[in-house]
Symmetry: C2
Subunit: 164 residues, 2 copies
């Protein structure tokens, strides 16, 4: 197994954990932000879409027109970017079903883009500036750790919603 | 860079995130379990010690006598294992300073053990049965994702404690 295969396998692994929560948390409860926790499933998935686009697509092969056609980046950054508040802009945000489609669409593209690069390109600079990663390798490793970080948060959210 | 180097680098990366929280969360607040969240820093670090011993030491080179001399495994499983409740057994648990020493001790050993294995051994079965990983490679990848998962939870804990 080479490092590109490790990366694809580990992206699949962290996505599977998220997918279990996606199945288990009723989509009608995706906008519930439990007190103190102050996060919700709509924000977690929207935030992952934005981060995964940066780390898994734009960092690998540059700005992607297919994504830009479906996602208004300015809105997405306002709703789900660094510093955004999960409990804000609730009326303007994408609905949960639409968000789930985008989430899957971004992962489909990530695997298409990774399949295009070789080991040498993996160690080259990201195609657009990435505040957290210098190389494509670092960007993809960031994606894996970042999604697992949010899986941990979603696990708490899932428990609190079930106990309510 | 080979896969063993990737693993060591990524373990260092997830540990650095945890270390930032360890620095930022006053050790006197490590036993605070905010309402609804129902977790605390003592449990998070104790749980990481136990998981990291399983995935990063016992799975790589078997039961470790140095660890067994310092950690009562039965107690640790009761306090910090799967199904343990962070808010239980508060009087019996290791104190925070002692826990922090053990946490660093486990990481020192993890790097010693990883430095002893080669690429072929990485793909061999874990040295003791591991419910989540078949091979040493899988065990070490689990360690990375698991620690990042808990970093995400500690990030919420940190925010809630700061806001209290």
């Amino acid at each position: 197994m080479n490092i590109l295969e490790v990366i694809k396998e580990q992206i699949t692994s962290v996505k599977e954990k998220t997918d279990t929560f996606i199945k288990n948390i009723d989509i009608e409860k995706w906008n519930v932000s439990p007190e103190i926790l102050e996060t919700n499933m709509n924000w977690q998935i929207g935030h992952l879409i934005l981060a995964n686009y940066l780390h898994g697509i734009a960092s690998i092969s540059g700005v992607n027109e297919q994504v830009r056609e479906r996602i208004n980046m300015q809105d997405f950054k306002k709703f789900y970017g660094p510093g955004s508040l999960p409990t804000m802009h609730l009326d303007e945000k994408p609905n949960n079903e639409g968000l789930l489609d985008l989430y899957e669409f971004i992962f489909d593209l990530i695997f298409i883009e990774i399949n295009k690069i070789n080991m040498e390109e993996l160690n080259s600079e990201t195609s657009i500036p990435n505040p957290i990663a210098k190389t494509k390798y670092e960007a993809l490793m960031t994606l894996i750790k970042h999604q697992s970080w949010h899986n941990g948060q979603i696990a708490i959210l899932d428990r609190v919603i079930r106990n309510q």
